[in-house]
């Protein structure tokens, strides 16, 4: 599959078709940042280096976006076509919690601590049918399996 059109291409490194989340790390104190930061807000160091966070985490908090956000949200939906979506903070191995859309939007299917993995979802469909993708976390498979986007 060809690379999808991304709203935020700088956030990923692709391993085959599988996205890995990218950010940065302070070279002096080791604090991690997503997205990549220009400087460290903890120790005030300007020295940062890229850092990869992988693609697996656990759900740290969640909500369901039940109404159509105003601009700058640009999904192309209307109040009539809008589908609620899940939003959560996902705790990565390093302890950083990344805010993300969730592929699940049902309260019964979400619980704090559940394992999740990174995927890409089309959040916008243009008038010409072209899709734009963003990142999301989905419930992780019992065994480690590659998540396909699209």
């Amino acid at each position: 599959m060809s690379q999808p059109v991304l709203a935020c291409a700088e956030l990923f490194r692709f391993e085959d078709d599988v996205p890995q989340l990218l950010g940065s790390e302070c070279s002096d104190c080791g604090e991690t940042y997503f997205p990549a930061a220009a400087g460290c807000t903890r120790c005030l160091s300007p020295h940062m280096k890229p850092r990869e966070f992988g693609r697996r985490g656990t759900l740290w908090s969640w909500t369901i976006q039940a109404f159509l956000p105003k601009a700058p949200y640009d999904s192309g939906e209307t109040a009539d076509t809008f589908k609620p979506y899940g939003v959560g903070y996902v705790e990565m191995d390093c302890g950083l919690k990344v805010e993300s859309r969730l592929t699940v939007a049902h309260p019964e299917a979400l619980r704090i601590g559940m394992p999740l993995e990174l995927t890409l979802i089309p959040y916008r469909v243009g008038a010409d049918g072209a899709q734009t993708f963003t990142f999301a976390f989905q419930p992780a498979m019992p065994a480690e399996q590659g998540a396909e986007h699209g």
Partner: protein, 382 residues
């Protein structure tokens, strides 16, 4: 204290929806009312701090009140605009810059949730475009985590809203003056679960103004001056859980509310147990619950019992948001923090009518919180 500052005039334009009035007109109404309350004319005011988020420059009030040449500083500090204006006015009087100062705020927001633009907040475009930059999401995410960590039930979220509307029904200036049943709130439409429609305040319109002077001369103007024992503003630290955060640090730090509150108590030389009546930022039910503990009024998790026992009601030992708070008054950003101060002054002056806290309260407290992580706290004494 020799350099204490007093509030000698309070003025409010009721919050709500006022289609025929500009935000500025509501600010001018509030300012005129505050000046009248203080018995001070506009040309006696030595410095003014004012703000509005969506209704133009506060300085434009001079076109209504009079072009006296005074230094008028426009304040833009999100939801903490009013608190920042007040803290600045207090500092100006203490420094000797002016004898009489004004803090004023007004606003008029479009209906529906705020729609901030990522670049204004130092954030990438995708954060807004992909639907992550909503204040309501933040409140819900922080509330959900807090409930999980501290054993807060959904019933507590309902109780906060119920009390707000119950108090609003006693307040002739409130926007929402109708009591709501437990079920009506608990069954209202999900907005950002766990928060539902009647657990959120709405952006609104209104104006609020204060006139201040050195406490030593306050009784010349006002038989019931209110002393500002502390007026503190603090911003976020690295690691605190704030609105508009694409990620949270591995190690969490206390919110700016905690630091502002501690500094205010220290300045005032009192503690949470000394406070008789308080205003706690209630953009939503969850935030109020979190803020009660962050401001030091109970341990984390103890809100559950506090709310169930009635302690936070007007007749309780810790009366919170006696005018209905943001939930019953709505939130015109520029004016909201000053509305809190005005309600505490009204309570300390024994002028709160049907919602008056019994026992002649002596010390009051206000707390405001807003994007991107700024808190303002005041401690007020009759």
């Amino acid at each position: 204290m020799a350099d204490d500052v007093a509030i000698i005039g309070i003025g409010l334009h009721p919050f709500g929806r006022h289609d025929s009035l500009t935000g500025r007109a509501q600010g001018a109404h509030a300012l005129r009312a505050a000046l009248k309350d203080a018995g001070v004319s506009w040309d006696a005011v030595g410095v003014a701090y004012g703000g509005s988020h969506d209704a133009g420059n506060a300085d434009a009030l001079c076109n209504d009140l009079g072009l006296t040449g005074l230094p008028f500083i426009n304040v833009a500090n999100g939801c903490a605009t009013g608190g920042s204006a007040l803290a600045s006015a207090v500092a100006a009087i203490r420094s000797g810059m002016a004898e009489i100062a004004v803090a004023v705020g007004f606003d008029k927001h479009p209906r529906g949730a705020f729609n901030p633009h990522p670049r204004d907040w130092g954030l990438p475009d995708w954060y807004g475009e992909t639907g992550l930059m909503l204040t309501t999401q933040f409140f819900a995410l922080k509330t959900r985590r807090y409930m999980h960590e501290h054993g807060i039930s959904e019933a507590s979220l309902v109780r906060v809203a119920q009390r707000a509307f119950r108090n609003g029904a006693l307040n002739p200036n409130a926007w929402r003056q109708r009591e709501m049943s437990y079920e009506e709130i608990a069954d209202s439409a999900p907005v950002n679960l766990p928060l539902r429609q009647y657990m959120f305040c709405n952006p609104a319109e209104g104006g609020a103004a204060l006139v201040l002077c050195p406490a030593s001369i306050a009784k010349r103007f006002q038989p019931k001056p209110v002393i500002v024992k502390a007026a503190v503003v603090r911003t976020r630290h690295h690691g605190s859980f704030e609105v508009f955060s694409p990620a949270l640090a591995a190690e969490q730090a206390p919110s700016p509310t905690v630091t502002a509150s501690r500094a205010a108590f220290e300045q005032a030389g009192v503690g949470p147990r000394d406070i008789d009546v308080l205003q706690i930022q209630d953009t939503d039910s969850g935030s109020e619950i979190i803020h009660i503990a962050e401001n030091g009024f109970c341990e984390h998790g103890a809100q559950e019992l506090l709310l169930r026992s009635g302690d936070t009601e007007i007749g309780g030992r810790l009366p919170i948001n006696t005018d209905g708070g943001c939930l019953a008054n709505g939130e015109p950003i520029g004016a909201s923090g000053l509305r809190q101060v005005i309600e505490i002054c009204t309570q300390l002056r024994q002028e709160a009518g049907r919602r008056q806290v019994p026992g002649h309260p002596r010390l009051g407290y206000t707390h405001v919180y807003g994007a991107p992580g700024v808190s303002g706290v005041t401690i007020l004494q009759r």
